[in-house]
């Protein structure tokens, strides 16, 4: 873990990094999806789908280590995920597909029917936030509807 003081310093500086987002399949996430355990084994689905695979240099810039939380933000919103070092080039992050990362994907399709699941520019910063469970994530949509209905 990053020393507490240093992480606060990074957060205080508000360092963030513009990166290109790549989402897609991973075997681990595919295994949970196909087994039918997205809700009933929600923790495993969360572990498989909430990893942000980053370049080591980018992680060093943000002051995060493996397992530290990072916030990914786009014009659509933000989501907290867990950082992990990978062979991604600098400025590119990979996140397995799922409801977490899709909450910041733009629905704009450029008249093609297909959104920008790959190639969107987003910001990444160190975060003290919590990674949401699948229930919290989906419950948020229901709550939004009930609020509107009132």
């Amino acid at each position: 873990m990053i020393p507490e003081g240093l992480q606060d310093y990074r957060l205080f500086l508000g360092l963030d990094l513009k990166v290109v987002l790549d989402t897609g399949s991973s075997t681990r996430q595919g295994k949970v999806m196909r087994s039918g355990g997205k809700i009933t084994e929600g923790e495993e689905y969360k572990r498989a789908s909430t990893v942000c695979y980053m370049n080591v240099g980018d992680m060093s810039f943000l002051g995060v280590f493996n397992g530290d939380n990072v916030e990914l933000s786009s014009e659509e919103g933000s989501v907290v995920l867990s950082a992990e070092a990978s062979s991604s080039p600098a400025g590119v992050v990979f996140v397995p597909k799922g409801p977490w990362i899709n909450s910041i994907i733009s629905s704009e399709t450029s008249q093609s029917g297909s959104p920008r699941f790959k190639g969107m520019t987003i910001s990444v910063s160190a975060s003290k936030g919590k990674v949401k469970s699948v229930d919290e994530l989906i419950g948020r949509y229901r709550k939004a509807v009930r609020k509107n209905e009132k």
Binding site: I39, E76, P99, Q111, G113, P115
Partner: protein, 435 residues
């Protein structure tokens, strides 16, 4: 009892060489399946510990079990009482189920779409503009001496693709398998597939179009003035152009890296034109890495029923095709759909937030095997049956080869024998309402 040549109903590989041992209605041994396929077999074999066995209905925020008759009546009521209903999914269902789905969409004057519109939809648009020189996976295994994966990572998405069809198999004219082939991966990051390739070319994100254009110039005999294009040194691009034009028979597998990034169908259009140029020198084919095991079947069935491969609109009583307007993502984002039937698709997990927000607002029916984020937002949940395991199914593999999947287990309930039958029961109720 041992069942041989069982089909795996998971990805577009449609592996039909799995051996399954069934004892007392449960699978006791699986041979030949990959990690992902195995997860699906195990889910079913355990009597499906996650399976939904009874229809569920949500009223005033409370979910309760209801009878099959009540659920099917309610599904027909929702679909017939709304103005812009959409039927969506089918990529993990049989072609027979797709046929009934088209009947329902036509009868209710709604829309029909599948995962293909937001996955390889742009690939199909590119194919419609240029045409595609394609081949079967059998031809790849027997003839190809050059394998290129562009924007695809089959080690994670189609785990047996390399070993069964492309890089490793010992074919008729490639007896040494891997040693007889060149294996190139082009991607924005060094994926698991990139790590084992003989050549990995790292292209800058959203710059595939530029790289394809550079290759086209070189293949057509032109020269490049820059020293680097799309993050790739020109020296390396020249080497790639030479490899493409001097192979005996090459195959380019196109992944979502091209269709989901900037350029979308233009990337595919450009790539197919590159292949056309290369084919003046040698023989090169293109195959799309279709994700679900019958996503290609949806396109086939919809095309022979309506003339169009996806995103079909029956609002005027006849089929219309306007991708980008009538595609599910665009319609949900614009809030145009007022009810939806989703079958084996789980859109709440795979759609952008704006689309899921609209899904939560409208009457939503889902036919699913297990609880998913979509069932959590649904007003009505009907238990699904695994096509190709619990019911026989015809399906199309990623190379558009039709295959038959056998049934080797019974569904965990007796009210329906297949999703096709479930859809037929809904369709009959819709017809009865119209009388």
């Amino acid at each position: 009892m041992i069942h041989r040549e069982v089909t795996c109903p998971v990805c577009g590989c449609g592996c039909d060489d799995i051996t399954v041992k069934v004892d007392g209605g449960k699978i006791s041994d699986i041979r030949g399946a990959c990690l992902v396929g195995r997860a699906k077999f195990i889910e079913v074999s355990e009597g499906g510990k996650h399976r939904i066995r009874k229809p569920l209905m949500r009223k005033n925020g409370n979910v309760k079990e209801v009878s099959w008759d009540k659920a099917l009546d309610e599904a027909a009521e929702i679909l017939t009482s709304t103005k812009k209903p959409l039927i969506y999914g089918f990529s993990e269902n049989s072609c027979e189920a797709v046929k009934i789905g088209v009947d329902i969409a036509e009868e209710i004057g709604g829309f029909i779409d599948s995962q293909s519109s937001h996955c390889h939809g742009p690939t199909i648009l590119g194919e419609q503009m240029v045409g595609i020189p394609s081949c079967t996976l059998g031809m790849v295994a027997n003839y190809a001496d050059l394998i290129v994966y562009w924007g695809a990572n089959p080690v994670d998405s189609h785990p047996r693709h390399l070993s069964r069809f492309s890089v490793y198999p010992r074919g008729l004219y490639r007896p040494e398998g891997r040693r007889d082939r060149k294996f190139i991966v082009i991607d924005t990051r060094k994926t698991c597939t990139g790590k084992i390739a003989s050549t990995f070319i790292q292209v800058e994100p959203n710059k595939d179009f530029e790289l394809i254009s550079a290759l086209r110039i070189l293949v057509e005999g032109g020269e490049l003035e820059e020293s680097e294009i799309a993050g790739v040194p020109v020296k390396e691009i020249k080497k790639l152009a030479k490899t493409l034009t001097t192979c005996e028979y090459g195959v380019v597998f196109v992944g979502l890296g091209l269709t989901h990034s900037e350029g979308k169908w233009n990337n595919i259009d450009n790539l197919l034109n590159l292949v056309r140029s290369v084919n003046k020198h040698t023989r090169l084919s293109v195959v799309a890495m279709r994700g679900h095991y019958n996503v290609a079947g949806f396109n086939e069935v919809l095309t022979w029923r309506t003339g169009y491969p996806f995103s079909v609109d029956f609002q005027r009583g006849y089929p219309r095709y306007n991708p980008g307007e009538n595609s599910i993502i665009d319609m949900l984002a614009k809030g145009e759909i007022d009810a939806m039937l989703s079958i084996s698709a789980d859109p709440a997990s795979h759609f952008p937030k704006k689309c899921v927000q609209h899904l939560a607002k409208i009457p939503l029916i889902s036919i699913e095997l297990a609880r998913t984020p979509t069932t959590e937002l649904s007003d009505l949940v009907i238990p699904g049956v695994v096509a190709g395991m619990e019911s026989p199914a015809s399906y199309y593999r990623m190379d558009n080869v039709p295959l038959i999947a056998k049934k080797f287990l019974d569904p965990p309930f007796s009210q329906t024998s297949s999703d096709e039958e479930t859809l037929k029961m809904i369709y009959q109720r819709i017809l009865d309402k119209g009388k």
